[in-house]
């Protein structure tokens, strides 16, 4: 999906959960290479799932977090391209100050809106509206999220949790995504959007983590209605491995890697 022919320098994107905001940014980064690219997603807090994934896929892209708005403006002044992703859970006006500050640069405001949704503030906000399939109601969607950094998941347990989440055991889930560390040292990005038949399981291009608990980011974000966050948290806690088991796994993996090397 190419952007406009006269490439904008600021690309702000918003839209429904799971509708393809980050995917659009990733494709655009790939198709529009540039010397300096920034990615800024306010409100990600301690669970920066999208920016972690973008950083792994595009190591040269600079990730900026909340509080680095001034830096962002400086980079843009020096010619950088900035992608600003506004999550569904944010008020649309929350990015407005920054966008105003950058108003002298060519800016594209893209809203990805569910097909058939006609009256929405997205139409007033956007310079370009794109539509996409969305199989769930956007009313009263709440968010539950948690960092899991340092935890390693028992793979079978993670499968159970994911099944339970997507089948509605903890409330009606429209979208959930996460980055999870497994005891064999691999890190997976897992993504579910209600209405899709399957979840995406994507091994991330990271070196295997084989020394103790990982210090790199992992975490989970769930969007839906009537979410029972306490129960999700309990199941996550019950699925993580102890220090002892982690070290056993890691020794085994190291040995088998040695043998196969």
């Amino acid at each position: 999906m190419p952007l406009n022919q006269i490439s904008p320098q600021i690309i702000a994107i918003t839209g429904a959960p799971g509708i393809g905001k980050t995917s659009l940014i990733r494709r655009s980064i790939q198709e529009n290479p540039s010397e300096k690219i920034l990615y800024f997603s306010p409100g990600a807090g301690t669970v920066p799932i999208d920016s972690t994934q973008i950083q792994i896929e595009f190591p040269d892209v600079q990730i900026l977090t909340e509080g680095q708005e001034l830096e962002l403006i400086e980079y843009v002044e020096q010619g950088a391209i900035a992608y600003i992703e506004l999550g569904f859970h944010l008020d649309l006006s929350s990015g407005e100050n920054l966008l105003q500050a950058l108003s002298e640069y060519r800016t594209e405001r893209i809203a990805i809106v569910p097909k058939g949704l006609e009256d929405s503030e997205w139409y007033r906000w956007a310079t370009e509206v794109r539509t996409a399939e969305c199989n769930f109601d956007l009313d009263q969607i709440q968010m539950w999220r948690s960092p899991c950094t340092g935890q390693m998941f028992d793979p079978n347990s993670l499968n159970v949790i994911w099944y339970e989440l997507t089948q509605g055991a903890y409330g009606e889930v429209c979208r959930c995504k996460g980055i999870f560390d497994l005891p064999d040292g691999r890190t997976f990005y897992v993504d579910y959007v209600s209405g899709d038949p399957d979840s995406l399981y994507l091994p991330l291009k990271l070196p295997r983590w084989l020394d103790g608990r990982p210090t790199r980011f992992s975490g989970i974000e769930v969007m839906g209605r009537n979410l029972d966050g306490k129960a999700i948290a309990q199941s996550i806690t019950d699925s993580c491995l102890s220090d002892e088991v982690i070290s056993q796994y890691q020794q085994q993996i190291k040995q088998s890697l040695l043998v196969s090397a």
């Binding site: 079978n156 129960a231 199941s235 491995l241």
Partner: protein
Amino acid sequence: MKIAVMSCIHGNYEALETVLRDIEQQKAEKIFCLGDLVGYGPFPSNVVEMIRSLDIPTVQGCWDEDIVEGLNSCECSYPSVLAEQRGKFVHEWTNQHIYDETREYLAELPKTLLDGNLAFVHGSPQSQHEYLLPELNGFIALERVLSTGADILFCGHTHIPYVRSLDQGQLQVRVMTGVETLNAESRSFNTDLKRIVNVGSVGEPRHGRPNATYVIYDTDSDQITMREVEYDYQKTCAAIIERGLPAIFAWRLAKGMEYAERADDASHLCERGV
């Protein structure tokens, strides 16, 4: 004569009552129970008391054993860390909600019952923890039946009912014995029709619907009928939450959870003897 066989009630009193009513309507004269009276569900003691008061011959299930002996099942019988944590929680809960007398009753349950050409076990004749799945290798399945000396082996534990007929079993073997002078002989073995009947689960079904399942065997016509009975599962779900058990068990019960958590390798090598 009609015999009713049920299993895996798991403290679900509501389901048990409904199934007992259905058994009466089906005019079964005798009932056997394949264990797992407790665990998961909110009324372990009431279920045990009901089974006792009706004098239903019962074998010990893995949950019954664990409540008595403490959680001594080998680690490999847990399919996941999550299942283990949840299992331990419910084990503790059940332990606190059960009378000493009930515990004694569970302790004394036999592991196998035989009645004529019928054998009754919870998991398999080898272990309460072994899953006899319908896709188990036919010869191993046959071995499980033959090891009891019965023609029909009734089991539970998987929570999904099935009837498996094993017919025209035959094996050719050649045996050499001796040391310096070897004797060799060929042997041929044949077996008649043997059956494995998994009776499903009264109180925690996993066939994709919330209904209770059990089996009726008519000894005169040699016919086996799998019964699926609706009951007010919402009542049990509400009690699960009300009595402080994890809400996830209520959800699974309402779903008739097909995604059963079970040990991957039912025939793993374990020094405890499965």
